[in-house]
Amino acid sequence: MASDHIVGIDLGTTNSLVAFMQGDSPAVIPGEDGLNLVPSVVALDEKNQIIVGNAARKYLIETPERSVYSAKRLMGRGVEDIREELKMFPFQLADDMAAGEVLRIKIGERTYTPPEISALVLRQLKRNAERFFGGPVTKAVITVPAYFNDAQRQATKDAGRIAGLDVLRLVNEPTAASLAYGLDQRKNGIVAVYDLGGGTFDISILKLHDGIFEVVATNGDTHLGGDDIDNLLIAIALDDIRGDLGLDVRRSGESVARIRRSVIEAKIALSSLPSTTLDVELPGGKRYQREVTREMFERLIQPVIDRTVGPTKQALKDAGLKPSQIDEVVLVGGSTRIPKVRELVQGLFGRTPHTDLNPDEVVALGAAVQANILGGGSDVTKEMLLLDVTPLSLGIEVAGGVTDKIILRNSTIPASATQYYTTQVEGQTNVAIHVLQGERELARDCRSLARFDLKGVPPMPAGMPRIEVKFLIDANGILHVSAREQRSGKEAEIDVQPSYGLTDEQVENMLLESFDYAEEDFRQRQVIEARREAETITAALAKGKNNPAWQALTSDERHNIAGLEESLVAVKDGDDYQQIRNAIDALNQGTMRLAELMMDTAVTTALKGKAMDQTDFEEGTAAGHPVAKAEFE
């Protein structure tokens, strides 16, 4: 059933993809431009229309202040978290941001939260899938970096909701990749997935056993990827330009964007060539050119890629495995195309990594597999089950500012833990509970997830109340906390509200706003499609006029058709869908007899033994009504 398609979405830092299970294997759904990758770029054009994907890329250079990329790096983070980040990226924060508010990014005159920006990308993917299936798509599995914390996961889920998607599951990217790998290879054993993408790094170690994909350990860095490599090269170019050309273009969004584009091209070229040239046009007719050799590039990026070593070793240690015990290493993410990265991985594990899978697509393909499993499964997936883990330990702050860890990292999810707390002061009726995520011993070094109050504790001597706190991490890796004072049975149910998260109400409002935009988009799309239809019809009519059938019409009929054609031509470039639609329908109606006559001619011609291609029809028009309603989609 068309309405039941559950899609798998890889919402990437640089590129995003949507895929689905086509029979026995997952397939990526291309966009209208025929391309599988949708760049995670959002821009506003001159008319304040939202442009997403490939079409938005040119705005990064033309109007950098009206475009945004790599918004994933901002998901679920606070202003102070991203201060460093903002130095490297041309994002402008909203001027009117209040303390503690979810950060908002300026795009032109508007401001958007990171989940809203991601929602725009998701909506483009949703639209691509709907165009492909010819029906609505409302359910999705979305991937996230394995090392995403609770707030980042929640923000991703919110983005899905704002985009009008029911997010059935968040799946960790390396785990999703392992599903695609496992479906492809059908082997048992221990697999390590090394995933270095545009903005994040994950390492996951899995045990594959008769269709069970059990993650044993995961680690990573949610701010490490191709972007960091680009930024290194950009910094060098900016320095050169200042030193050699005497130009300070650091504040010129357009120049920085041009440099960025050139740097990315160079980075890609250096994966296959020994050297390449940075070539950037600058203001005032100046031009920056510099040769970059692979050797220089590799020396430059070494510190960046070395940052993947620590997490990888930690994951192996947590899994209790030696590198030699890993049966296969799977590479995921565009940055693993860099030969130096492959060399590093080979050194870490002492084996040649598996590179048969397309590192850009494998995560989306795996998400499609998981979507299929959640939809009830098919013959090839019915034995498959994913057992993932939580990447970070969870705890509660206790006396002395210490973190009391109650669910340790790498615990299989869903996971739960129950802890008992009491009061410190006689007659205390409120107990504040501070939920933390991280590995450090002190609460102030861990990430604060939420604070909540358990109110109405019956007044008792200090230490008397017995407060049971239950932590539950669901299969999405999202935490739910409930607390109850056992002597009074007083219960407080709390959904963790991330310190930098949106409230349910905000998400609802954003969803409503997106409907408004969606309607605007929809009307525009309708107009464009009607216009195309009008062009097809007038072209077909021009051909019809050369057909003998045209002469068989009465002059009144011919006159009438010409009039209808003229009215269609007059309205077709306007913005009024209904007007265009009416004119198309009228012309369709008016040319009915012409079409019938043309059919007759075609049949007669065929009966005379003439081959069809010798008639002055073309295949398409001979097959039916020459001005039949054109089919798009």
């Binding site: 069970i212 089950l385 206790v398 002395g400 860890k405 615990s411 011993e441």
Partner: protein
């Protein structure tokens, strides 16, 4: 007998029963557990209880599946680790292990509070000597001095501790077998005696583990 996870009439998932982890898997409260059997049971139950199989089920069933599979995972995590499994069983048998736990140690370390910790009598002399050496090492490090003889001394002590640590695990495994036999045919006093012996082994083991960690820290810093 295994706890009831599914309705016997309709096969639907049931709310998690408040049972212990052994009962959850249908195992007796025995300690010498076959790891591959446990894993097999875990995978089999996962296939039936994991929320992935309930994505389209009604809300109540989804909630029960979440509850059941989180309990399954918690139970598996506890039982598959030999030390956690032993500690868990001892708690079921009414032992309070908190004083010696890692958590209590870390808390004490961070807050600087003194943790109540009893040095096992047979280790008293060794620990006293080692602590003196560690103190000396810290002082030397502060002064930037280097004394290979001292490092060797500490290294030897560490090796001896590590040997004891491994031996204690073997001793613990020996106690498992006694415990398991006593579960089948022993008397209550028999079981209590084995229980207390296991508590003692675990306490000594934790003590040595903390000591080895102190040594490692002193040598690294």
């Amino acid at each position: 007998m295994r706890a009831t996870h599914f309705c016997s009439a309709c096969g639907k998932v049931q709310p998690a029963a408040p049972v212990d982890y052994f009962t959850f898997f249908g195992f007796p409260r025995k300690l010498d557990l076959d790891a591959s059997k446990l894993e097999k049971e875990f995978y089999a139950l996962s296939r039936h209880l994991h929320p992935d199989g309930f994505a389209n089920a009604e809300e109540q069933e989804r909630a029960w599946s979440l509850e059941q599979s989180s309990m399954l995972n918690d139970a598996y995590r506890t039982l598959k680790d030999p030390i956690k499994r032993t500690e868990y069983l001892l708690r079921l048998e009414g032992v309070e292990l908190e004083e010696q736990s890692k958590q209590a140690t870390e808390k004490a370390r961070v807050t600087g509070e003194l943790k109540k910790q009893v040095v096992p009598p047979d280790l008293l002399e060794e620990v006293f000597e080692l602590n003196m050496h560690l103190e000396e090492l810290r002082t030397q490090k502060k002064l930037g001095e280097d004394d290979p003889a001292l490092l060797e001394e500490i290294g030897k002590a560490k090796l001896s501790l590590e040997e004891k640590f491994d031996a204690l695990f073997e001793e613990l495994q020996g106690q498992w077998k006694k415990w398991d036999a006593a579960v089948d045919s022993g008397t209550e006093p028999d079981r209590m005696q084995i229980r207390d012996r296991m508590v003692d082994v675990l306490n000594r083991r934790n003590y040595i583990r903390n000591l080895v960690r102190d040594v490692n820290e002193a040598m690294e810093n």
